[in-house]
Point group: C2
Chain length 301, copies 2
């Protein structure tokens, strides 16, 4: 039997990646109450919102208020998505501990998402990264579509490496590699991690899986085998695209905790409190979230 890591750090991205596509407006006070619950769970990182212009992400138009009013757990770092210098200014005022910048590994997805070519994107992100670093903040670079692009198909690990190189050169502290459309199988994870970990230290790499075809937990397990100890997840499995109703969201924090704690891996996170936080947001959104462990907990109530 192989060894599992002793400790894994999760970043709760529900308040950002989970909510960003929701059509139901979650009132600011509910977001704050929810994030406070997440903070109480002991999770060490929370991405609390996005400072992308509200025209693009109306669901998170209250990022500034949320950042200013949440109760901070001193053991937790609070980050937000930051697309440009205006966003960074607002994010800093809202008291971020970390900034997340984002781009795609595939040219077409990057263009559709950011309206820029990959090469045009670096200087914009570079400016934000330098700005955030000057303010003493940690910077994570999200690289999306690292396995498959909805427009271009398979993405070559070499292309992912090129983007990673440039983001590290631009000053990113660590990178989160995203299976944006939730299509990867474990052999793809192996191939990518073979390439990535030959080049970058494993503690700089975060894996970000969506559960669209039900592969996310298997992909996390594969990543653990490669020594990856940082993952993004969202309570209840929040997230997903409003234009693809069956497309599941982020891998559910609840299910990841079931796996990790079951394997004897420490997380500093109280599973019961994550469950409460998931039920809380499920009620506010008035829909059943996809997490299996959550559904099981609901049935056992």
């Amino acid at each position: 039997m192989l060894q599992w890591p002793k400790y894994v750090q999760l970043k709760e991205v529900g308040p950002r990646d989970g909510l960003q596509n929701e059509k139901v407006w979650v009132p600011t006070e509910d977001k704050i109450a929810w994030i406070n619950k997440l903070s109480e769970s002991g999770v060490r990182e929370i991405e609390f919102s996005s400072f992308v212009h509200p025209k693009w992400i109306p669901a998170l138009a209250d990022a500034r208020d949320v950042g200013m009013q949440i109760k901070r757990n001193p053991d937790t770092t609070y980050s937000a998505l930051v697309p440009n210098m205006k966003g960074l200014e607002n994010a800093l005022e809202a008291g971020i501990d970390g900034a997340s910048v984002f781009m795609s590994a595939s040219e077409t997805h990057n263009r559709k998402n950011i309206n820029k070519s990959i090469d045009e994107t670096y200087p914009v992100l570079g400016e934000v990264i330098q700005g955030a670093k000057s303010a003493g903040k940690q910077v994570t670079g999200y690289v999306s579509t690292v396995f498959d692009c909805p427009y271009e198909g398979k993405v070559n690990p070499d292309q992912v490496l090129r983007v990673c190189d440039r983001l590290f050169e631009n000053g990113a502290d660590n990178l989160s590699l995203g299976d944006t459309i939730g299509s990867a199988v474990p052999s793809q994870v192996e191939a990518l991690l073979e390439a990535v970990l030959a080049r970058f230290p494993e503690d700089k790499i975060i894996m970000h899986f969506h559960n669209t075809r039900g592969m996310a937990i298997a992909n996390i397990m594969t990543s653990l085998r490669y020594g990856i100890t940082r993952f993004d997840s969202a309570v209840g499995g929040l997230g997903g695209c409003p234009y693809a109703p069956g497309a599941a969201g982020n891998v559910a924090t609840n299910d990841v905790l079931y796996l990790l704690h079951g394997l004897g891996i420490e997380t500093c996170i109280d599973e019961k409190k994550i469950e409460e936080a998931a039920f809380f947001i499920q009620d506010k959104l008035d829909k059943k979230l996809p997490s299996k462990s959550l559904a099981y907990a609901a049935s056992a109530k």
Copy 2:
């Protein structure tokens, strides 16, 4: 990177394990049409019904008619659950190619399920096994609760081995080891398979996972690493207990195929036809089945 097996054989258990707890009566003609669709997918084994007394499983009261009227694919073997000699008689008349007997690895679950102690169960199963073998039929023994028992908690691999020993001694051709309550994590699968495969050849062992906490695909992946190449699954992820609404059913054939084909493993099964069969039964049951790949396919339509 480790090697994956070249070929994996799935047994479609949707018509039996999937339907047995459904409260909606699926008319016999619909069951037949559905099983015919499954046969057309190329799946090599189908468990088409159960010959347990209809008092216990009313949803499958038409086992005999189903068995006699389905269109047989000559490449597929058709089996059914058989609890006793009366059931075997009916099953043989209905034209089974294989009989499945069942018991639990945990004393309490066995008693609750079969109303007998483990020791009292062997002679009953032994009689059925011998009867089926004399009629030239293959026999699979289902061993349930091999990881955790809902009444007793963790089940020791030694206890599972003892039950396996006795079933093989009684003439079973192969054994299907079931995570009945869908609670196992991959480290439990490793521990059990280390013990089981030290004693029995891997081609005699089938793994049977439920996806109650979302771990089934990761557990299948773990089993593949141990050389297991036979799994039970149900289209759409049918199944689950009516008294625990959130408790998911069998691992979804659709999701298993997404994994296996993604890994480059052959199955002889047409994914598209399995998808059609899943949509067919989903319509008949008038509820959304839990398979992620199916939900994705529905959203992409």
